[in-house]
């Protein structure tokens, strides 16, 4: 499962700590999600998508083989 969290975060010039604080999770969790090592729960996935003004299926793509494509 690829996601666009890192791409969207860097585009907005945000740090991982800032995103973590906005989502109410730890910085380590944001790092794990960006690295694809942790799949967030459905509520957190929606929160991430809303935070970046995207839909969940645009933010998380099971068929996407390369991040940011």
């Amino acid at each position: 499962m690829r996601n666009r969290v890192r791409e969207q975060r860097t585009q907005r010039g945000l740090s991982q700590a800032e995103v973590a604080a906005a989502l109410g999770v730890s910085r380590q969790t944001v790092i794990s999600i960006e690295g694809g090592r942790y799949l967030p729960s459905l509520p957190l996935a929606f929160a991430i998508a809303r935070f970046f003004d995207m839909t969940v299926d645009k933010m998380f793509d099971p068929d996407d083989q390369e991040a940011g494509t």
Partner: protein, 151 residues
């Protein structure tokens, strides 16, 4: 009760409480037990301070000490406890087997550990929904199934 305590203090308070109860057990033990009680309480105080300091740092482990975990860290803790339970069960099984084979008098203590761990597992299955067997809420319940392909 823990909800009334600040998150960062919960683990230290728990450690202090159970550690002091254990130290008190050495006092009740009598004889030179008071010495072990003092040693235990010193260790407990050191552990409480360490837990409080760790609770303020920025890592997964320290978030657990500080009782401020997010969903991923909670999952890590649950998996760790599950692993601890499996290791306990296996170690108790080895102890029980050796105890029975050598006709030791302490074999039953391992049987108690296995029984308590097994009961905890069954309690978990009961609490977390495995027993919630319900008939399927099928939209076509009572009606003949139809093919989605129209002819």
């Amino acid at each position: 009760m823990m909800r009334f305590i600040a998150p960062r203090l919960r683990k230290p308070v728990g450690i202090a409480l159970f550690g002091t109860i254990y130290a008190a057990a050495w006092l009740v033990h009598g004889g030179n037990g008071w010495l072990w009680a003092i040693v235990t309480e010193i260790g407990v105080i050191a552990f409480v301070i360490a837990a409080y300091v760790h609770g303020g740092r920025d890592s997964d482990e320290d978030a657990l000490y500080g009782s401020r975990v997010d969903e991923r860290q909670q999952l890590i803790a649950q998996r760790s406890w599950a692993l601890a339970g499996k290791v306990t069960m296996f170690a108790a099984f080895v102890g029980l087997t050796i105890g029975v084979a050598t006709r030791a008098t302490w074999w039953w203590s391992f049987a108690v550990i296995i029984a308590v761990t097994g009961f905890g597992y069954l309690l978990g299955l009961s609490n977390y929904g495995v027993g919630e067997e319900a008939p399927a809420d099928d939209a076509n319940d009572g009606y003949q199934a139809r093919s989605p392909v129209t002819h």
